[in-house]
């Protein structure tokens, strides 16, 4: 029965091909394009214009809620956000303008047997216009961009920063606070032993008061935090999207990035963008929970907002689940939390 079925399928495919082949061999459609084809496709160009712009507008409206909040959680991120808005505005303008020109011209000048094309091959004036206008706009954009970049990346000469090391490995983050001396002790993977999972050099006097934590990292509001990044195995990338912060963790090398947290976790939970996003997420989770319950499985917990550290450089099988929770709080609360954590030295002894 099954064999017969397969034979029938192949037979019908063969007949289909044979029929198609006959059509291919006889259809007289090899003139460049008929009047009808020019008309239909010309009008379709207008449809495509509407589709491209409509889709873009739809995405901006419908997906507005899922984006990162407008409010940057770090002071340095504000500069980045401003630059982003300016650039994105420019992109939208040019996108709308040029796509309209392309598809409208394609529609308007669709082929017509009674008309001849205009022989127009060059114009220095026009070429000058569309070389110099982008050049001017880009000069401004480059200047603005480099200014913002320098502000973000410069971690020298900071007033009273705190130093934290972020340590990456397959597939976990660890953090190390510099302690009372505010200096991180030296470290190398060759020192890794037992509980000293970050390879801190315990002979270094700066390392004695270093505090290590897993799973959850706290940051004080309003103080510059300078991160030192290390990795023990492969490349990772420490991505903290709400703070507009990202830096790769490179084995054999230290990298640096700094920012000043400006919004505590509690404050961020009250931000309207976040409230909207959390609501949207919980709607989806509630629906999923119903399905899960119907199958006799546990339902999902409702989601509350937290800052996150994600891995953003492909690092192996569990790359998609390498995360750490970040809590931003007032400095007093932060100090209290930190004083409750144990130093690495005390854990080892």
């Amino acid at each position: 029965m099954k064999a017969l079925f397969i034979v029938l399928i192949f037979a019908s495919i063969a007949i289909g091909f044979w029929q198609l082949a006959k059509i291919f061999g006889t259809t007289k459609n090899d003139q460049v394009a008929t009047k009808k084809e020019n008309n239909i496709n010309g009008w379709m160009m207008l449809f495509l214009l509407a589709f491209v712009h409509g889709l873009l507008i739809y995405c901006m409206v419908a997906y507005g809620d899922v984006l990162l909040p407008n409010l940057s959680a770090s002071t340095e991120g504000e500069g980045i956000d401003l630059l982003f808005k300016v650039t994105f505005g420019l992109i939208l303008f040019v996108q709308f303008f040029t796509q309209i020109l392309i598809f409208f011209f394609a529609f308007k000048y669709r082929g017509n047997i009674d008309r001849k094309a205009t022989f127009y091959a060059d114009s220095h004036k026009l070429e000058m216009i569309w070389t110099s206008i982008p050049a001017i706009v880009l000069t401004i954009l480059v200047g603005f961009g480099i200014y913002t970049w320098d502000n973000v990346m410069d971690v020298s000469n900071q007033k009273d920063p705190i130093y934290i090391e972020l340590y990456a490995k397959q597939f976990q983050w660890e953090a190390r606070y510099a302690g009372t001396d505010n200096t991180l002790g030296e470290a190398n993977v060759r020192n890794i032993k037992g509980i000293n999972t970050m390879g801190v050099d315990m002979n270094d006097k700066n390392a004695q008061d270093d505090i290590t934590v897993l799973h959850e990292m706290h940051l004080p509001k309003g103080r510059k935090v300078i991160f030192q990044y290390r990795s023990q195995d492969v490349l990772h990338s420490a991505y903290m999207p709400h703070f507009r912060a990202q830096m790769n963790c490179v084995p054999g090398m230290k990298t640096y990035f700094g920012f000043t947290p400006s919004v505590t976790t509690k404050e961020m939970r009250k931000n309207q963008d976040i409230i909207d996003k959390v609501q949207g997420i919980n709607k989806i989770r509630a629906q999923k929970s119903k399905e899960l319950e119907a199958q006799g499985e546990d339902s999902l917990e409702p989601y509350t907002f937290d800052y996150l550290l994600l891995c953003n450089k492909i690092c192996g099988s569990s790359h998609y689940n390498m995360q750490m929770k970040i809590v931003v709080e007032e400095e007093a609360d932060f100090n209290k939390w930190l004083s409750q954590q144990k130093t690495l030295a005390s854990k080892i002894n």
């Binding site: 379709m44 480059v142 507009r244 492909i314 998609y320």
Partner: protein, 586 residues
């Protein structure tokens, strides 16, 4: 031209004829495209429906899709090989290999490539590398899965992921052979264009396709050897215990002996090819588009010299912008500023090209055949995708979108989809030249309209998942409740992707049936000016019976008027037509 006796083997397999080699490149490229494209369908299913079971996954992926669900390792392998195949095997060899081989001798008026033998070697090396790449998919420990950029140490250490075992070895060997093939091809293209032009074919009369192939070959020659050296050093690190890229590594409970190397070195070497590679892919597509748009708008391409100038500017700049892939690697921030500057400069020649295309459409008499539709779509997608480069090329903005799906959406539009559309335009336009038959137009129209809608439908929403902070190469985003609300967007993207995949089946059917049963083509079906349309429809060794035609004008005399402003009877003037009485050469 002496005519050798040709056996089946010398005619169809080890052929030294550029037209046959072009067809070999195209067919190999299409087969690789089917493999690479099909992989993307599979992982799009996973991304849209991470919790569902699909028998199709188990059927195709075996152990990697046990019970109908994809494993993370399989996902990484699929995205890696999808990227590699699409970038190198389809859009580099499939696109440039096909059209450089087909068009260079025919459009410059040469009997064949400068060295037909090297040309044959080049194809067969490419074929060998394709076979090895496809074979690597089936190795027991899994295919290479460190991403198409294969950054060490992940790609260097089999302990780090199982795909970095034999799969990675085969990947590296395949790429080394591929690069050799590409270099042989490039040398041949350059030498042929510079030396074998027919009488009257000055450099300033070359069609823009040839200019694009020439500049592409030059960038390839400059940058591909650097990737080869990067790959060789990685082979050394993997197999001979050197430490070029590795240092201070502790993995699976032991410290490895590597000392003093840096993965950043690999990134520099990789992207020194990697960025020019974008233009190696894009320029031939832009060249094809220039030719097709001019022919079918029945107008000269606007700003011929500016087009060449901007291609040269793009080529030059492309070799000094690689650092924009590395803004957040820990590279000196000052370098970040320099690379931001050079990167954003590329927007200027790109803008010139875009506006020149638009002006070419203006006041044309546009013939919407299938190739023309794909070309217009290409220009549209090139702009849509290129504009977001202003965000990614700006170091300060790159911090927060680096390695997110925003990047994926950007480069798929600007180099993936737009080059693919350019390639389709080329296939539809030169199909009669390749196979002596016409493709079916109605199926072509359906193919175009489904493809363009699917392309935008996939990649516009994808930008927004990236702006929401979703990293690329995540097997699933269910580990983060933060991303739960992106699930519906992922479903939309996947359905558009499936639509796009379906549309390519129409193309495949049309292509292969037309190649055997299509209507016999006439000599110059598009009423075009370039020399290849003066050659006979049937393929002969040496391209032209008798003498090679002599060239008297540039390739874009469409709808020209005489000194009194009157139109000529025929709205095109082939390059071999002598200047008419009272006509001025442009």
């Amino acid at each position: 031209m002496s005519h050798h006796k040709q056996t089946f083997v010398t005619k169809y397999i080890f052929s030294t004829d550029h037209k046959m080699i072009a067809k070999q490149y195209l067919i190999t490229g299409i087969i690789m495209g089917v493999i690479g494209g099909f992989m993307s369908m599979l992982f799009r299913l996973q991304l849209a429906y991470p919790e569902q079971h699909f028998t199709i996954l188990e059927a195709f992926l075996g152990k990697g899709g046990e019970g109908g669900q994809m494993t993370p390792d399989m996902y990484m392998g699929l995205v890696t090989i999808h990227g590699t195949i699409m970038v190198f095997f389809v859009l580099t060899a499939g696109l440039s290999g096909t059209f450089s081989n087909l068009l260079i001798p025919l459009q410059i008026g040469a009997r064949d490539m400068a060295s037909g033998f090297l040309n044959m070697i080049s194809y067969w090396l490419f074929f060998l590398s394709s076979v090895i790449m496809v074979a690597s998919i089936f190795v027991h420990t899994g295919m290479a899965s460190a991403g198409w950029t294969i950054y060490p140490p992940l790609s260097a250490l089999p302990q780090a992921m199982s795909g970095s075992g034999l799969g990675m070895d085969l990947w590296l060997i395949s790429m080394a052979i591929f690069i050799a093939a590409s270099l042989l091809g490039s040398l041949n293209y350059i030498v042929t264009i510079l030396n074998l032009r027919t009488k009257g074919m000055k450099m300033t009369r070359l069609p823009l396709t040839i200019w694009a192939f020439l500049i592409t070959a030059i960038i390839g020659l400059v940058s591909f050897p650097v990737l080869l050296s990067a790959a060789l050093l990685l082979i050394f690190d993997r197999s001979f215990g050197t430490s070029f890229y590795l240092s201070d590594i502790f993995i699976q409970g032991e410290v490895l002996h590597y000392h003093g190397g840096s993965p950043i070195l690999f990134e520099h070497l990789f992207w020194f090819l990697g960025h020019p590679e974008v233009y190696i892919i894009l320029l031939p597509a832009l060249g094809i588009t220039s030719e097709v748009i001019s022919t079918n708008a029945r107008k000269p391409i606007f700003g011929y010299r500016a087009m060449i100038g901007s291609m040269m500017a793009i080529a030059f700049l492309s070799t000094i912008v690689w650092g924009h892939h590395m803004f957040v690697t820990g590279m000196n921030p000052f370098l970040g500023s320099v690379f931001t500057f050079t990167t954003l400069l590329i927007a200027i020649p790109s803008a010139v090209k875009a506006f020149n295309y638009i002006t070419t459409l203006w006041k044309g008499n546009i013939q919407f055949n299938v190739a023309m539709l794909f070309s217009i779509g290409m220009v549209s997608v090139f702009i849509s995708g290129g504009l977001t480069g202003l965000i990614l090329g700006d170091s300060a903005l790159d911090i927060n979108v680096h390695d997110t799906l925003f990047v994926v959406a950007h480069f798929h539009l600007v180099m993936g989809v737009s080059s693919l559309l350019g390639m389709f335009a080329g296939v539809y336009h030169w199909f009669p030249k390749m196979f002596g038959r016409m493709m079916n137009k109605k199926l072509g129209y359906i193919h175009f309209w489904l493809t363009i809608i699917a392309a935008y439908g996939v990649f516009f929403p994808m930008h927004f998942t990236g702006l929401a902070g979703l990293p690329r190469r995540y097997f699933s985003n269910t580990a983060f409740p933060l991303f739960d609300d992106l699930a519906p967007i992922n479903v939309v993207i996947t359905w558009f992707a499936l639509l796009g995949g379906f549309a390519q089946l129409i193309f495949l059917g049309n292509f292969f049936i037309s190649a055997f049963y299509g209507r016999i083509a006439i000599k110059n079906p598009w009423r075009a000016n370039t020399l290849e349309w003066t050659a006979p429809v049937e393929h002969i060794h040496g391209n032209w019976h008798g003498d090679i035609p002599e060239v008297h004008r540039w390739a874009y005399d469409y709808s020209k008027v005489d000194e009194n402003g009157n139109a000529y009877e025929q709205d095109f003037a082939p390059q071999d037509m002598p200047i008419r009485a009272g006509e001025e050469e442009f």
